[in-house]
Amino acid sequence: MAHTPTKGRKLLFTLIAWTIGFLIFFPILWTILTSFKTEAEAIASPPSFVFFDWTLDNYVEVQERSAYFRHFWNSVVISVGSTVLGLLVAIPAAWSMAFVPSKQTKNVLMWMLSTKMLPPVGVLIPIYLIFRDAGLLDTLTGLVIVVMLINLPIIIWMLFTYFREIPGEILEAARMDGAGLRSEILYVLTPMAVPGIASTLLLNIILAWNEAFWTLNLTAAKSAPLTAFIASYSSPEGLFYAKLSAASTMAIAPILILGWFSQKQLVRGLTFGAVK
């Protein structure tokens, strides 16, 4: 029968899928490989894939030039901080929209999403002035707030679609047992929503990690994250492919590893209500 696949068919699909997967992943693989080459080998024609003299010099040089770990730590603080803060604001909001919907719910949600469509460059100077007056320039606090705000609509929406799947009867039952609003959220809803919250958390850490406009424009030295670190390798003098590759690898590796390890949790909540 057709739906119990023959070995041949399975082999064919395996081959196609692996080829495509490899092609999609190739730019990253190539960057990682290049980061272990010398500058001369990095531009050698024809290029060499694995049979070159592997070297760590590029990593040493990048670390010497820029304080990688400080940038890394700033990225961690900004992405985790903004996400956690965002969740604190978003969970009650998403809860109320999911369980006490009103006529306005849909409009409010759409309005929230539409705030994400504003081009950030249009408001850079106002924000810069506000930050200057509030003493928030080049501070992690300021960045956590801004990154939280730009991702808040997505957090709320993800949580909302997730909460909506939780059947209302459970709440009814909890209320019958005399549970108050607080315990309703704390003991009944939250545990059920944990997978959704986890995947929201992960997605937003990724988005915040990769946010490159505000993090680059509102920082100088003290709170600059990895997006600023990579900006200093973008177009230096002379040969730079290998150093660029090393810096790129260092900038994406942490989030790539996190993403790979947690991809199951991430994918589970990534549906945005698209799956019933």
Partner: protein, 290 residues
């Protein structure tokens, strides 16, 4: 279920989020609106004269404006088409029985984690560079002249770069949706003699409609403000070939330091984004019972 008590509690719980977003939107926006009526160049401090709609006139009659509008639509549309089509095909492929599905999924998902600046730098230098890039090497090995991607097909190249980053996102959502499809339904259709194409169009595609809507909505939000990829690769050029609205506003406010002109551009961009938002809302309303 929704008593008056729970309703007021609900309002209380949603208010921090609403207030924050309202502040985040209104405060800078009203400042931007105010600036947009001034002659305000960062390099020329002093009195900022009120000049009425002059900034708007200059922005809207800028020869780059029309190109930027078209480029924005092409960029958003192009990436959506590639990621949705590619995503559906990839999702169907990944849904097939195979060895090492988990590893393939890991490979496919990876580009989503790469920050836009890095991906643009890598594509521009190590792949598309017509002298040292890998593509140039491949072209030469095949006995052809290297192709200057960012010079000859700039917008298409940027669409490619951006699509690479978003394809995993579309694929994952669509794959999850596909996996929730009732297998019995498919088998029944197969028994009835429906071919693969007919099964795809009559069963899979309708089932994926919601997921596709979600992909389109989320990606549009992000794609309207694509910026880093353009800044790193082409600086909006050659000519205006890759200038989108966001980049045009950037050029006004941070290359010319014309805050007034940039603010007018920002307001125009906000209005355009809202038009798109209304359009999207209609679409969502039909396909997604939010």
């Amino acid at each position: 279920m929704a008593t008056a008590h729970s309703r007021s509690a609900a309002r209380l719980m949603i208010s921090p989020a609403v207030l924050l977003l309202l502040g985040w939107m209104l405060i800078p926006l009203s400042m931007t609106l105010y600036f947009s009526f001034l002659r305000y160049n960062l390099l020329m401090p002093g009195a900022h004269d009120f000049i009425g709609f002059m900034n708007y006139r200059f922005f809207l009659t800028d020869p780059a404006f029309f190109s930027a509008l078209i480029n924005t639509l092409l960029l958003v549309g192009g990436v959506l088409v590639i990621t949705v089509f590619g995503g559906v095909l990839l999702a169907i492929l990944l849904d097939q029985p195979m060895w090492g599905q988990g590893i393939v999924r890991v490979l496919v998902i990876a580009p989503f984690f790469v920050m836009p600046t890095v991906s643009a730098l890598v594509w521009k230098n190590m792949f598309m560079n017509p002298v040292n890039g890998l593509f140039a090497n491949i072209f030469r090995a095949l006995g052809m002249q290297p192709f200057d991607f960012l010079g000859q097909a700039p917008l298409a190249s940027i669409i490619l770069i951006v699509s690479w980053g978003w394809l995993p996102f579309a694929t994952l959502i669509l794959l999850t949706a596909l996996q929730s499809l009732d297998r019995d339904q498919l088998e029944a259709a197969e028994m009835d003699g429906a071919g693969p194409l007919s099964r795809f169009f009559h069963i899979m595609l309708p089932h994926l409609a919601r997921a596709i809507t979600v992909v389109v909505l989320i990606q549009t939000i992000f794609l309207l403000s694509v910026f880093a990829e353009i800044l790193v690769t082409t600086n909006g050029g050659p000519g205006y070939a890759t200038t989108n609205i966001t980049y045009l506003v950037y050029a006004q406010s941070l290359l010319q330091f014309d805050v007034g002109g940039g603010s007018a551009g920002g307001i125009v961009a906000v209005i355009l984004a809202n038009i798109v938002a209304i359009f999207l809302m209609r679409m969502i309303g039909k396909n997604l019972d939010v």
